[in-house]
């Protein structure tokens, strides 16, 4: 039944940058891709001297699913589900960033309600994403109970989003020129409840971790990076902010409704793992603050723009008017006709600058879709954060980097 002893014939998919230790007592250790701490999609080939990492060679790509190629075979609309699966921790932010890019190219202005709703849902997703990141990184440090608390509250968020979108993780909720549908009855009331629960649970995490001597020892002054180095290596998002630079696209180049919101940009001091943890914790609080404001600002009105180039006609009109029927068919079969041109739009995703570079040749299918994925850039500079620290620090540093395979490898 089983096939054995063929292991030696299996090819090695990567070529390490070094295969002999640089010193006599060095050992080369391969960590990943199937290692409990590397999320299954990263391989770190490290040279150890004792427990100290001398050199590290980071390989990603184990989750390269051909997203960009796949996009060229789909219409502008039907590739939204693929976009979801880039950063699957916060799929809605990807959705909206992509839709925003296409809308910019089409020169469509979204309705006020959609604008506020997208902002609200982006922040809501950001909470879920940061929660996943913190949960995973504290679990890798051995704190199971904190992990399970965070999972509980995240599950409520997932179920709540499933209430809205029909899916727990990958929502496909954004549409070019709007959203799939409006909020269901009672959704905002439940949101209020969840935010209250969130505060209680996050209080427990603060109690378990913040001043925990072991946690501080494990994360303080580990994986330190300076602002200059971080910018040099292209880091953005919480990792850049942990170094003390208040760079946040929501503040710097406001999009959606962020210019009308009151929020702070939390920054760290050292750029170490503890700062990254704490920046994420603070950002979640800011997100909650923003959601509370948005719940009151949310205007009434339509959610889809009245633009026949991208918005589907209402169902009853499809069944009664020939123009709408043809319009529907054209949108489904040919896709929205996006004017030729190219655009780069970036949103502040949970991990950093998520940019969509779209090239259209004027048809219903993109000519080229390129994603500037924060995780991928972060992996490019990861070795800087690992070298000189201990083997055990690989785990905590990698955890706070929040590498998401789908986004990194696309």
């Amino acid at each position: 039944m089983t096939v054995r002893n063929t292991s030696d014939n299996l090819p090695n998919p990567v070529r390490p940058a070094f295969d002999t230790p640089s010193t006599e007592d060095g050992v080369i250790v391969n960590i990943g891709p199937s290692h409990p701490a590397t999320h299954g999609t990263l391989q770190i080939i490290a040279e150890l001297n004792g427990e100290r990492v001398v050199r590290a060679d980071v390989h990603c790509g184990y989750l390269h699913r051909g997203f960009e190629k796949e996009c060229e075979a789909h219409t502008w609309h039907t590739l939204i589900p693929f976009v979801d699966r880039l950063n699957y921790c916060s799929a809605l932010i990807n959705n909206f960033a992509y839709c925003d890019a296409v809308e910019t190219l089409m020169d469509v202005e979204i309705t006020p309600r959609t604008r506020y709703l997208r902002t609200l849902l982006s922040e809501y997703s950001r909470i879920a994403d940061h929660m996943t990141c913190i949960a995973a990184s504290v679990m890798e440090l051995g704190a199971m109970t904190a992990f399970l608390y965070l999972m509980t509250i995240r599950d409520w968020i997932y179920e709540h989003l499933a209430d809205l979108t029909g899916a727990r993780v990958t929502y496909s909720y954004g549409r070019i020129g709007g959203l799939a549908h409006d909020l269901p009855e009672g959704w905002l009331e439940r949101l209020e409840e969840i935010l209250d629960e969130y505060e209680e649970y996050i209080g427990r995490i603060h109690g378990l971790m913040d001043r925990n001597r072991i946690f501080i020892d494990r994360t303080r002054d580990v994986g330190v990076i300076s602002t200059e180095q971080a910018v040099h290596w292209g880091f953005t998002g919480p990792i850049l902010r942990s170094t003390g630079a208040a760079r946040d696209l929501r503040r710097d180049t406001p999009y959606l409704a962020y210019s009308e919101l009151d929020f702070e940009v939390p920054v760290g001091i050292n750029g170490d793992n503890y700062d990254r943890y704490y920046v994420r914790m603070r950002e979640m609080d800011e997100s909650v603050h923003m959601i509370r404001q948005l719940m009151h600002m949310l205007p009434k009105g339509p959610i889809n723009v009245d633009d026949r180039r991208c918005t589907f006609p209402e169902k009853h009109r499809v069944y009664t008017e020939i123009e709408s029927l043809i319009n529907h068919f054209k949108l489904v079969i040919d896709g929205p006709q996006v004017p030729a041109g190219e655009v780069y739009r970036a949103h502040e995703a949970a991990n950093g600058e998520l940019g969509f570079y779209l090239v259209s040749d004027g048809t219903g299918t993109p000519h080229r879709v390129h994603v500037r994925a924060p995780s991928f850039v972060h992996m490019g500079g990861l070795h800087k954060l690992l070298e000189g620290y201990q083997l055990a620090d690989v785990v905590s540093t990698f955890g706070t980097m929040n590498m998401i395979g789908g986004e990194c490898d696309r």
Binding site: R4, P13, S34, Y62, H64, K69, E70, Y88, R168, V169
Partner: protein, 164 residues
């Protein structure tokens, strides 16, 4: 079953009792090896934590060493680059072992029909349970685990074989 395996009643009775006992032990002690790669990881985290809690089925002590695990949970898309790693992990696992394809990508490649994604892990390793969904809801994962338990309880467990 060939002619040499003709058994009398008492022996058959003992064999079934033995299978029942071994099946009982094996089905309630499934140490999973989480081969977690993609989006399904989010649901894997959910299903193994508080709200859904696979520990209830005795399947929540993840052993990250393939030697010590019984159930290979392939969670997420397997790409051609990942395939040798998965195959190697499968080969390193000790008998008896079961494989669960968690989500459509592991089952069939999902909607990634392109050069990079492996079109279903059953092209390289045998699979016992397929769980559909992109990603599957935790309930369907639990259903998958229970179906696997039934399968284990209902199959025969040879104690003396060529391998073991």
């Amino acid at each position: 079953m060939n002619a040499g395996d003709q058994k009398d009643g008492a022996f058959e009775y003992l064999t079934t009792r033995k299978d029942e006992l071994v099946g009982w032990a094996r089905k309630f002690s499934l140490f999973p090896y989480p081969f977690v790669t993609a989006c399904c990881a989010m649901e894997f985290m959910s299903v193994s934590s508080t709200m859904y809690d696979t520990d209830r089925f005795g399947a929540a002590l993840p052993r990250f060493s393939p030697r010590q695990s019984d159930l290979l949970m392939v969670v997420g898309t397997i790409t051609h680059k990942q395939a040798p790693v998965l195959r190697r992990v499968y080969e390193q696992m000790c008998e008896p072992k079961w494989v669960m394809a968690f989500g459509v990508c592991a089952t069939s490649g999902g909607f990634y029909q392109n050069y990079a994604a492996l079109q279903g892990i059953d092209k390289i390793i045998p699979v016992d349970v397929y769980i559909p969904g992109c990603p599957p809801r935790p309930e369907s994962v639990i259903d998958g685990i229970m179906q696997l338990q039934e399968k284990i309880a209902g199959s025969s467990h040879p104690i003396v074989s060529d391998r073991f």
